[in-house]
Each structure stands twice: as structure tokens, then as C-alpha cells.
């Protein structure tokens, strides 16, 4: 029997940055383009021949297990839950999963769970095999590297150093949060809260054991609402180029839009560009939606206008409502007719009866 590849996904914490959505659902299960973020990753891993996925989880594992088991069976992948009883940082979970990861001498993938890109796992594995060293980090080019961990490497792609959130420009290549590591790396990690970026990788770099794989195509950390929406735009553009039949075509649609077949859209609407509409969503007549995600079971009533919003599950948005500015509605929020919400973050089950013209958290 051919031994399958393995991967570890760092699911981890509470997903506070994606609140109020993560108050109702663990972040990996929040639908990105109508599919849980985690499933985008698992599907890509399975495509690349991964047969065993270890999820490093610490919070709400039960709900995740229930929902993922069905999907895992469909995909024919074995999912193992590795429970952290205390937060172990980004490296600790690797030590915790030692038993699973050191079963074989083959390298394994490691992923941060917030990453969306055109996952190049096959190319990554090939690249890793070719240079023959202990680890490979995927790097991606960004416009503003100062909020990320910058990676410096030579012409052979051998990594020299890491600079976390540099003040001065050093390079525009950053750690994309995707790695492939040999099991020998596990020996470099102690079972305690450890940062892979700050403690493990610098040591590997000084031993010349770490290489950079340059990512082609889009990449986004979708861990917070603003980036979630930006990532959605990039994803839909990518979908247009690679799998355009998945995009929705219909009256009033502008640009790249995906609509679940069970959603309904009224007359005289303008949907798009860059909109995803989930299962069972009802869009009434005369609605305009741009650059937004509407999650399962939500209703948008007639003549409303939405831009840059995430509308949570089962929300009810009234008529002539205007929402913009990265407004996020938690689960089952009711927005009354004719109100205006700008940059509101609304916690689940709230009833919004008066306008919120400036960005605000509504408890």
C-alpha cells in the first residue's frame, strides 16, 4: 500500500478577529465563498494526495468534528483531532501531534487555517524534495509587508533571516503560513507554547535547512472581516480564470458572483461585482449588493443597498436599508426598514432599529 501524505492544520484559537461571526460558528466552519474555510484547504490537500489531516484544535472541537466527519467521509480523508489543553502557539501543536507526524519519514504539510490561495501543494512537495533540506516555507508578495513576517532569502531560495513586522522596507516577500517540513523538524520543537516563526524557523535558517517557495497567484489571510472580503474578491477573480462555469449567470448580475442554487433573487436587482450568496438566501426585488458575502438563510428585503458587508446566517435586512464599510452582522440579526449601518459589527440576535452612521460594535 502506498503511504499517503499528511498535513497539520493549525485551527487553534477563538477566532476573535472574525467576531461576531465566530460567536456562532468556529472560524474554520465560517463559509468563504459558500464553503467552510477549512474545507477549501482540506479539498486542496486531498487533491494533492493527502490522506490524513491532523487538526490542531483547542476550542469548540465538538461542533467542528460533527460537521467535518461527513465531509471527510465524502472526500475519503482521515481526520485526526489533536486537542490542545492549553494554547501551544504555532509550533507546539507540531510537537503535540508527534505521534501522528513521525509515523513516517515523509515530509508533512503545515497550514495556518486562515489562509486562502490557489494551494500549490504538489509543486511545493516537488520543490521541497528537490532541495532536500528540512523545511520549505511558502512566501508571497504583498504590497504592505509591514504587518507581516518578512522572509529574506538568497538566489537559490535558501532562507537567511526573518524580520517580524519590519518598520523599514526590507523585502515584499512574506511568510504565507504554508509549510512543508520533514519529520526531523519535530525534534527541534519542545512540547510547550512555542512560535514556529520566531523560535523554530530562525534556527533552521541558520543551519541552512530552510527554503522559500514563491507562491504564484492570489493569497490572503482572511482572518478578519476586511481581509475576508478582499480575499473573496481575489478568490472570485481566480475562479473566473480557472473555473468560470461555477460563477452565476442571470439577469442583473455584474462581474464575478456565486449564488447557491437554493437561493432566490428578485426582479430588478443588481448583484455584483464580487458577491457570494449562500444556500436558502432570499434577495427581494430591487436590491443592489456589491462586494459582500450573504450567508445561509439570510433575507435581504426590497430596495436595499449593500456594499462591503458580511451578512450572517438567518439575518433579516429590511427594506431601503443601506449597509457599507465592512459591516458584519452576526447570526440572526434583524435590521429594521430604512436604517443605515456603516462599519457596524453587530453581535448575534440583535435587533437594529436606529441607524449606525459611524463604525461601532453593537453588543
Amino acid at each position: 500500500m502506498v503511504e499517503g501524505k499528511r498535513a497539520l492544520i493549525l485551527v487553534g484559537g477563538y477566532g476573535t478577529r472574525l467576531r461576531p461571526l465566530t460567536l456562532s460558528r468556529p472560524k474554520p466552519l465560517v463559509e468563504f465563498a459558500n464553503k467552510p474555510i477549512l474545507l477549501h484547504q482540506i479539498e486542496a490537500l486531498v487533491d494533492a494526495g493527502v490522506t490524513e489531516v491532523i487538526l490542531a484544535v483547542s476550542y469548540r472541537a465538538k461542533q467542528m468534528e460533527e460537521e467535518l466527519t461527513i465531509e471527510a467521509t465524502k472526500l475519503g480523508v482521515n481526520i485526526i483531532y489533536s486537542h490542545e489543553t492549553e494554547p501551544l502557539g504555532t509550533a507546539g501543536p507540531i510537537a503535540l501531534a508527534k505521534e501522528h507526524l513521525s509515523k513516517s519519514t515523509k515530509p508533512f504539510f503545515v497550514l495556518n487555517s486562515d489562509i486562502i490561495c490557489d494551494f500549490p501543494f504538489r509543486e511545493l512537495a516537488k520543490f521541497h524534495e528537490d532541495h532536500g533540506k528540512e523545511g520549505t516555507i511558502v512566501v508571497t508578495k504583498v504590497e504592505e509587508p509591514s504587518k507581516y513576517g518578512v522572509v529574506v532569502y538568497d538566489k537559490t531560495n535558501c532562507i537567511q533571516s526573518f524580520i517580524e513586522k519590519p518598520q523599514e522596507f526590507i523585502s515584499n516577500k512574506i511568510n504565507a503560513g504554508l509549510y512543508i517540513l520533514n519529520p526531523s523538524v519535530i525534534n527541534r520543537i519542545d512540547l510547550k507554547p512555542t512560535s514556529i516563526e520566531k523560535e523554530v524557523f530562525p534556527n533552521m535558517a541558520s543551519d541552512k535547512q530552510l527554503y522559500a517557495f514563491e507562491l504564484k497567484g492570489f493569497w490572503m489571510d482572511v482572518g478578519q472581516p476586511k481581509d475576508f472580503l478582499t480575499g473573496m474578491c481575489l478568490y472570485l477573480t481566480h475562479l473566473r480564470e480557472t473555473n468560470s462555469q461555477k460563477l452565476y449567470k442571470g439577469p442583473g448580475v455584474v462581474g464575478n458572483v456565486i449564488v447557491d442554487p437554493t437561493a432566490t433573487i428578485g426582479n430588478n436587482c443588481q448583484i455584483g461585482p464580487n458577491v457570494t450568496i449562500g444556500p436558502g438566501v432570499v434577495i427581494e426585488d430591487g436590491v443592489c449588493i456589491k462586494r459582500s458575502t450573504i450567508l445561509r438563510g439570510a433575507t435581504i428585503c426590497s430596495n436595499s443597498w449593500l456594499e462591503s458587508c458580511i451578512v450572517g446566517w438567518k439575518c433579516h435586512v429590511g427594506r431601503w436599508v443601506r449597509m457599507e464599510g465592512s459591516t458584519v452582522l452576526g447570526e440572526d440579526v434583524i435590521v429594521k426598514d430604512e436604517t443605515y449601518i456603516n462599519g457596524g459589527q453587530v453581535l448575534p440576535h440583535k435587533n437594529i432599529a436606529t441607524s449606525v452612521p459611524e463604525p461601532q460594535i453593537i453588543m
Partner: protein, 426 residues
């Protein structure tokens, strides 16, 4: 025979009503579908025996005369515009045109400030005045109304003998509390008042002859409140009738929405035909929350939802799925599909693109204080920030599709290109 004088002021006055008064004289600004001053004319015409209405002001004749002609034609009574060429003050203006006013020997005449909005109880006022005239001593009866202690300081304050309604003391805009009974700017005068004004005029002339300067004031400048009413107090010739009718002044643009609501309400009893009634109209009609006035020449899409308190002017086009509440839309404006207009005035010929949101902040009198009036707050607060008010588009302003215009004022002929919040756009 009775007459009425309506004091309409001039272009130098009513600046707080900008930008709405930039392209139309304030007295002609339509509230509930009728020019402001036409509501006053209609109130005067309801008085039995009233034969003539004189509009006095210093707008150029070309601005007012066509309107006066139209009114005369429409109501079939004499309606004249008398243009002042120099500012003579309220009493000075009346005195200047005394021959016109006295012509035909009226028993009495009404004087009404042009920016007053009310369901004018003029008959009641005249009946009271006539009773006081029996012993030939009443020169003037002031219509009075209750105000809050705080707000009374912005008005002419009247102290009366509660039994006889005789005015015993009168102070215009006092700096400390005098009385909560205030002057509404609505009067009945006996023609003999001209002897009193004449005497003041004569005194001024003597004063001037004796070498005292008249200051910057024109010769013959006489203020009604300070120079006539205040000195008459206590003479037994001046009365004030307190009334409880609705009363407001149209000073700032923000008060137009409030006045609109009340005039629409008055239509219910006086002119129900002026209110939009969906059951009366044939075919598919739009959804209405009363009260709403729609000009017959306006085009409203059947899926639009209008009201309460909305006036739609002639030639206006309202698109599909539009929602309008607490607003005035002036002639030939266009509101495109799916847009929302709240607490706003949309200027003549303005254009609001689809899925736009035009919204202001209501500025009604404090509903929790009895007798509270419109606040007429200044444009800016003490910190130099714009006070949130209704949103006003001057004439021929264009609002792009999908934008929001919040608590803002846009001067005429402006093509906006972005969303605007809490700004004045020159």
C-alpha cells in the same frame, strides 16, 4: 370692509432660509404644495368682508408681481404688491403706504408677518377686536400664544390684564423672563393707528431738525414692536388675544418640513382634495402613509412608497421602489429607482440617482415640552461643528447613484461625485 397687509420682507431678509431662498423668494417657497404666502392669502380670504390684500416688501416687482396677478385672478379679489424702495421698518412701511391701506375706508385691517405659519384664527381675532372697538379705544389686537419660559426670550413678550386682555407691558426679545405670552406677528389694527405712527414720525422729524442724527436709519424708519406696540402698552388701546392654535415661524430651512406637516394636517379638514387619496385615483397607485400632497403633473411609479408628511411638486418623477418620508420634493426633480429620501428638501430640477440615500435629522420642536417652538438653531454649534439638520439640495443638484447624503446642505447647480456627510457643499 376689511383689508389685510402681508409683510413679505425682501431678498436681504430670510438669509437663514438659504439655500432654498437663493433661487426663489422665501414667501413663494412651496409648503404643502402652495407658496408660503398663499396659505396666508387663503386664511385672509376666509374672513367675511375682506376685500383687498396688500403684499408689502422690497423684492423687485418682477419677482412678486406675477404671483400677485395670479392670486388676484385665482381668487377674484384685489391683491396688490406694494414695493418698498428703502427699508422703513414694519411700522414705517405701513405708514408709507397708509393712503393705499386706508383707501375705501376699511373698518380695520389685518397685518401678518409673511413667515408665520398657522391655522390663523383671524375671524376670532377680528371679533375680539371689534368688541374692543365699541368704545372706540382699541387701536390694535395682537394674536398671542404661549411659549416656554426659555424660548419666550426670542420673541416679543406680552403682559396682559387676564380679565380684559389689555396689554399692560410689552418687551421685544427681552434678556430676562417677562412673560410666556408671545407676539405671533399677526395683528388687527384700527385705521386710527396711523395717527399714532404719524405722531412718532413727527417726533422723529423734530428730533432730526434739532440736530440729532438719525444714525444709519432711513428717514421715516419706524419699528412696529419697539416704537409703536411697546409705548402703547398700558394705554388701554392695545390688546392681546391668547390663542391655542398651531403656530410656527418659517425662519430656517429646517422648519419647512415641520410647517409642511402641519399644513398637510390642516388640509384634512379644510382642503381634503389637496391630499393624495389612493382610493380616488384610477388605476395602479402607489402606497401612501398620510398625509401626502402630490401635484397632478407629477409621475409616481406604482411601487413607490410615500409619506407621512411628503409634498411632491409639479413635474416631479419618482421611480420604482422609491421611499420618501418627511420631505419636500420641489418641481421637476427626479428621484430614480430604489432611492430613499428622509427628512430632506429636494430642490427644483434636482436629480437623485438610483439606490441613493438622502437623509437629514429631524428638527422639530421638543415634543416633551408643552408650548415648545422650533429651535431655529444656528448652522454651527459652539465647537464649530455643523449642527445635524435636515438635508437640503438646492436647485439643479445632482446626486450620483448609490451614494449617501447625510445631514448636509448642497448649494444650487452642483454635481456631486461622492457620498457626503455633515457638510455644506458650496
Amino acid at each position: 370692509m376689511l383689508k389685510a397687509v402681508i409683510l413679505i420682507g425682501g431678498p436681504q431678509k430670510g438669509t437663514r432660509f438659504r439655500p432654498l431662498s437663493l433661487d426663489i423668494p422665501k414667501p413663494l417657497f412651496p409648503v404643502a404644495g402652495l407658496p408660503l404666502v398663499q396659505h396666508l392669502i387663503e386664511a385672509c380670504l376666509a374672513i367675511e368682508g375682506l376685500k383687498e390684500i396688500l403684499l408689502i416688501g422690497f423684492y423687485s416687482s418682477s419677482q412678486i408681481q406675477p404671483f400677485a396677478n395670479e392670486m388676484q385672478h385665482q381668487y377674484n379679489v384685489t391683491i396688490k404688491y406694494l414695493q418698498e424702495f428703502i427699508a422703513l421698518g414694519t411700522a414705517g412701511g405701513l405708514y408709507h403706504f397708509r393712503d393705499q391701506i386706508r383707501f375705501g375706508n376699511p373698518e380695520a385691517f389685518f397685518v401678518i408677518n409673511g413667515d408665520v405659519c398657522s391655522d390663523f384664527p383671524l375671524a376670532e381675532l377680528y371679533t375680539f377686536h371689534k368688541e374692543q372697538m365699541v368704545n372706540e379705544k382699541a387701536l390694535v389686537t395682537i394674536m398671542g400664544t404661549e411659549a416656554t419660559r426659555h424660548q419666550s426670550l426670542n420673541y416679543g413678550c406680552i403682559v396682559t390684564n387676564k380679565e380684559t386682555n389689555e396689554v399692560t407691558h410689552y418687551v421685544e426679545k427681552p434678556s430676562s423672563y417677562v412673560s410666556t405670552l408671545i407676539n405671533c406677528g399677526v395683528y388687527v389694527f384700527s385705521p386710527e393707528i396711523f395717527q399714532t405712527i404719524g405722531a412718532v414720525n413727527l417726533k422723529q422729524q423734530e428730533h432730526y431738525r434739532n440736530g440729532y442724527s438719525n444714525g444709519t436709519k432711513e428717514a421715516g424708519y419706524i419699528q412696529l414692536e419697539q416704537e409703536i406696540l411697546a409705548p402703547l402698552a398700558g394705554s388701554g388701546q392695545i390688546f392681546a388675544l391668547p390663542v391655542t392654535n398651531w403656530w410656527s415661524q418659517l425662519k430656517t430651512a429646517g422648519s419647512a418640513i415641520y410647517a409642511n406637516r402641519h399644513y398637510l394636517q390642516l388640509y384634512k379638514t379644510k382642503h381634503p382634495e389637496r391630499l393624495y387619496n389612493s382610493s380616488g385615483a384610477g388605476g395602479e397607485t402607489c402606497m401612501i402613509y398620510p398625509d401626502v400632497h402630490i401635484d397632478r403633473t407629477a409621475h409616481i411609479h406604482p411601487s413607490a412608497v410615500l409619506g407621512p408628511n411628503v409634498s411632491i411638486g409639479p413635474g416631479v418623477t419618482i421611480g420604482a421602489g422609491v421611499r420618501i418620508r418627511e420631505s419636500i420634493v420641489l418641481s421637476d426633480a427626479t428621484i430614480e429607482d430604489h432611492s430613499l429620501v428622509l427628512h430632506s428638501i429636494i430642490g427644483r430640477g434636482s436629480h437623485v440617482g438610483r439606490w441613493a440615500r438622502v437623509e437629514g435629522t429631524p428638527s422639530d420642536p421638543d415634543p416633551n415640552k408643552p408650548f415648545a417652538k422650533m429651535e431655529n438653531r444656528p448652522l454651527f454649534n459652539k465647537d464649530g461643528r455643523l449642527n445635524p439638520s435636515i438635508t437640503i439640495l438646492g436647485c439643479s443638484v445632482s446626486v450620483p447613484a448609490e451614494t449617501i447624503l447625510l445631514n448636509s446642505v448642497v448649494l444650487p447647480n452642483k454635481e456631486l461625485s461622492r457620498s457626503i456627510k455633515n457638510e455644506i457643499i458650496l
